[in-house]
Amino acid sequence: MVAHAETVQKPRHPFLAFAARWLFTTNHKEIGTLYLWLSFLLFFIAGTMAMFMRMELFEPGIQFIEPLFYNQILTLHGLVMVFGAVMPAFVGLANWMIPMMIGAPDMALPRMNNFSFWILPFAFTLLLSSLFVDGGAPNFGWTFYAPLSTTYGPPSTDFFILGVHLMGISSIMGAINIIVTIANLRAPGMTYMKMPLFVWTWLITAFLLIMVMPVLAGVVTMMLTDRHFGTSFFDAAGGGDPVMFQHIFWFFGHPEVYIMILPGFGIASQIIPTFARKKLFGYHSMVYATASIAFLSFIVWGHHMFTTGMPLFAELFIMYATMLIAVPTGVKVFNWVATMWRGSMTFETPMLFAIGFVMMFTIGGFSGLMLALVPADIQYHDTYFVVAHFHYVLYPGAIFGTMAAVYYWLPKWCGHMVNERLGKIHFWTATIAVNMTFFPMHFTGLAGMPRRIPDYSLQFADFNMVSSIGAWLLGLTQVLFLYIVIKTIRGGQKASDQVWEGAEGLEWTVPSPAPHHTFETPPVIAEDYGP
C-alpha cells in the first residue's frame, strides 16, 4: 500500500484528467450530476422529436414528415422521455439527495453506482443510432405491441431490444443501490418513520423497479426469440397470443408509471412544508398511501387493455382496483392542501412548481379516474383523451416535479441562489404552455381523434393548431430553463447553508455548495427530529 501511495503519477493531459474524473467517479454527488445532465440532454432530444410531431400536426395533410418517419419519432419520443429523461432525472436526484438526507457518506455500492450510470449513454446511443440504420428506427410506439414489433418490426428492433436490456440492468442496479443505502446507511437515530418523504417514496419506487424491470427484460427477450429463434410467444400461428404481449408489457408498464410519479410525490412533500413553514400534514398516511398506490399498481395493468376482448369478470376487477387508486392518491392531495392550510406561505420558484405539480397532476388524476370506467374507456381508449391524460401526469407531474426539485436543491448543489425573476418567468410560461398544449387534447380525443396519427380529419384542425403553438412555446421555455441552470451554476447570489428559511432536514446542515464528501462521520439525529 505504501509503495502505491508513493508512486509518482505523470501529470495527465487536462482533457484526460477531466474524462477520467467523470468516467471513474464513485462519488454519489458526481454521479447524481451525471445522471441529471444526461437526462437533460435526452429531454431535449426527445423534446425536439415532439416539436417535429407538432409541426406535422399543425395542419391537416402531410406537410413535413412522412408517416414512416412520424412513427419513428413518435416511438423514440416516448421511449427516450420515459427511460432517458424522467427515470434518470429521478435517479440523479436520488443519488444527490438520499445520502445527504439520511446522513450517509455516500451510496452503499459506489462502484456499482458508477457502472449503472455509464451503461446508460451506451444504451441510448444504441437506441438513437437506429435512426440512421437502413429501415429506420423502431416505428411501433413506445408500447411496442406485437406483432407490429416482432414479425413486422424493422431490423433496428434488435437495437431497441438490446438498448432496453441495458436500461433495465442500469435501473435494477440503481434500485438495489438505493434500497441497500436506505436500509444500511441511515445515521443512528434516523428511523424509517423519521425519514424524509422523498427517501420514502424512492425506497418504494426502488422496490417497484426491481420487481418490474425483469418483466420488461423478459418481454423484450421473448420478442427477440420470436424474431430470430423460431419461438411463437406472440404469434397465434404458432400457438402464441399477441394479447399476452400486452399483459406482460403492462404488468411492467403500469408500475412503471408510478415509478415515474412517486419520487415526484416525495419532492412535493419536501417542498410544500418548507415554503408553508409548517410540518407535512399526515406524514404516516403519506407513507401508507404511497405504499398502497405501489401495491395497487400491480393489479391494474389490464386497464390499458379494455378493448382487447377481456372477459367481463376481469374487466370489472380491474375497473374496481383502478378506481381504488383514487383513494390513496386523493389522500396525498388532501394532505398537501392541509399542509398549506394555515401555513405562512411564500412562493419562491420551487414552491410554484410544487403547487403546479399538485394541481395539474390532480387534473391528470381526474382523467385517470374517468378512464378507469370501462364503458367510457371504450370511447376514450387510444384517442387524444389518453394522450392528454398521460401528458398531464407526466409533464406537469413528473417533469414539473423534477424542475421543482432542481430549483429547490440547486443552491445546495452549486452554492448560488437561482434568479427568482427568471425562475418565475419560467414557471408561468411553462404553465401556460403546458395547458395550451395538452388541455385541448381532451377535446380532440372526446371528439374522436385517434392517437398516433400523422394526419387527421378537418374537424380536429383548430385544437391541433392550438396544441402545436403551445408545444413550441413549451419547448422554448425549456431552453430558458437550461439557461437558468447554467447561469446559476456559473454564479449568482451566494446561498447560505440553510438556503430556504423554512427548510428542515440534514441536507441543509451541510455547507452550500455541498462539499465533495459529507457525513463522513454520521450526524447526530436530535430526539425531536422528524415529521
Binding site: 391537416p60 408517416p67 429501415g135 370489472l316 390532480t362 364503458p375 371504450i378 370511447q379 371528439a447 398516433r452
Partner: protein, 377 residues
C-alpha cells in the same frame, strides 16, 4: 334524453349527480352522444364522472387557492403547528370511497350489457389488414374490402380537402336499422381496432383471435370512424364508414350485391377471354397501383428503404415474369407485403404487374394477360 337504469341508480345514491349528467356541455368539446342507446348511456357515464371530477376539483383547488391567498406570510405571519388528524384522514378516505361506489354502479350495469353479445339478428365478420377493412355478411354470404377513398392529392395538399377528408371509403359497411348486429372482429397481420364513435363500439382486431361486439342502431344515416390501434404507416388512413339503412332498403341492397357479384363473375370471364393491349393495362394498372401499392412503394416506385423496397429497377419488377407474378399474388411472408390474389381481380393483377414492369424507367416491355393470372391461381 331519458336516463337508463344505470343512471337512475347512481342518481339515487348521489342525489347531487342526478341532475348534472343532463347539463349539456358545448358540443364540440364533449364526448359525442352517438346514436345508439348504449352510446348515450356511455356519454351519461362520462358526464357523471366528469361532474364528480369538476365538483371535487372546485372544492380541492378552491381550498388551495383560498389558502394561498389567506395563508401567505404577509397575511398569516405565524404558521399553525397542527400536523396530523386521524379523524380527518378517515373522513377523506371514506368520502372518496362512497363517491367511487356511486360511479361504479352505472359503469358496472352498462358494462354487463355491453358484454352481452347473445341474441343477435345478424353477424358481420370484420377482418382488418394493413390498411383496409374486409366485411363479410355471414348470414348472406356477401363480402368485400373497404379502402380509404381520400385521394393522395388531398393528403399531399395539392387539392383542397373535402368535408370527409380521411373519413371516406370506397365501399361502406351497410347495416340495417333496428337489428341487433353482432360484429366478429379479427385481423390478418397486426393488431387493429375497429371504432365507430357513434355506435360506442371499439374492439381490437387481433390476428388469430376473434373478438365480439354489438350495436343496435335505431336511426338511418352515415357514421364514420377510424382504426384506433397503431398498425403501421397507414394507420391514419384506415377509415370506417357505416351506412345504416332502413330494413327494406338494406334487404334490397343485399339483393343488389348478390346480382353484382354474379355480374362481376361474368365480367371476369369476359376479361379472361379478351387480349388486352398495353395501353389499357397500363392505365388500369396505374389506378390499382396508386390505390393499393403506393402507400409503401411510393407513387414513383422508389420505395422507403429496405422495409418497403423500391420497385424501380428492382430484381423482381425487371426480372422473370413468373417471379413477379408470384410475389404479387402470394406476397412475402413475415413482411407487410401481403398476398393480393384474394383481394384483386385477374385483370387488376395483370394490369398492375404490367404497370410495374413498364413504369418509372422500368422497360421490360412485356405484358401479362388476365388469363395468365387466372391460370396461376
Amino acid at each position: 334524453m331519458t336516463s337508463s337504469a344505470g343512471g337512475l341508480k347512481s342518481g339515487l345514491i348521489i342525489p347531487i349527480l342526478w341532475g348534472l349528467p343532463h347539463v349539456s356541455v358545448a358540443s364540440n368539446i364533449d364526448m359525442r352522444p352517438g346514436v345508439t342507446a348504449m352510446s348515450e348511456r356511455i356519454q351519461q357515464i362520462h358526464h357523471i364522472s366528469l361532474w364528480v371530477c369538476i365538483v371535487v376539483g372546485i372544492i380541492v383547488f378552491g381550498a388551495m387557492f383560498y389558502s394561498m391567498f389567506a395563508h401567505r406570510r404577509s397575511r398569516n405571519p405565524t404558521p399553525a403547528t397542527f400536523k396530523d388528524s386521524a379523524l380527518v384522514e378517515f373522513i377523506w378516505t371514506l368520502i372518496p370511497i362512497l363517491i367511487l361506489v356511486g360511479m361504479a354502479i352505472p359503469a358496472t350495469t352498462a358494462l354487463r350489457d355491453i358484454e352481452d353479445n347473445d341474441n343477435s339478428d345478424m353477424t358481420v365478420l370484420i377482418t382488418a389488414s394493413q390498411w383496409k377493412w374486409h366485411y363479410e355478411y355471414l348470414n348472406s354470404g356477401i363480402s368485400y374490402y373497404s379502402n380509404n377513398a381520400t385521394p393522395d392529392e388531398q393528403i399531399d395538399n395539392l387539392e383542397p380537402k373535402d368535408e370527409h377528408y380521411l373519413l371516406d371509403v370506397d365501399n361502406a359497411l351497410v347495416l340495417p336499422t333496428n337489428k341487433k348486429i353482432r360484429f366478429l372482429i379479427t385481423a390478418d397481420d397486426v393488431i387493429h381496432s375497429w371504432w365507430v364513435p357513434d355506435f360506442a363500439v371499439k374492439q381490437d382486431a387481433v390476428p388469430g383471435f376473434i373478438n365480439e361486439a354489438w350495436a343496435h342502431i335505431p336511426v338511418a344515416g352515415v357514421f364514420r370512424g377510424q382504426c384506433a390501434e397503431l398498425c403501421g404507416i397507414g394507420h391514419a388512413f384506415m377509415p370506417i364508414v357505416a351506412e345504416v339503412r332502413p330494413e327494406e332498403e338494406f334487404d334490397a341492397w343485399i339483393e343488389e350485391q348478390r346480382i353484382a357479384a354474379a355480374l362481376a363473375g361474368e365480367a371476369a370471364v369476359a376479361a379472361r377471354a379478351k387480349t388486352w393491349a398495353m395501353g389499357e393495362l397500363m392505365s388500369i394498372g396505374e389506378q390499382v397501383f396508386v390505390k393499393h401499392c403506393a402507400t409503401c412503394h411510393e407513387r414513383d416506385g422508389v420505395g422507403q428503404g429496405s422495409k418497403y423496397p423500391a420497385l424501380k429497377g428492382s430484381e423482381i419488377t425487371t426480372g422473370p415474369l413468373p417471379d413477379h407474378l408470384g410475389r404479387v399474388m402470394d406476397g412475402k411472408s413475415d413482411t407487410e407485403m401481403q398476398a393480393w390474389a384474394p383481394q384483386l381481380s385477374d385483370l387488376d393483377i395483370a394490369a398492375v404487374i404490367t404497370y410495374e414492369r413498364n413504369s418509372w424507367g422500368n422497360d421490360v416491355g412485356d405484358l401479362i394477360q388476365p388469363i395468365t393470372v387466372y391460370e396461376a391461381r
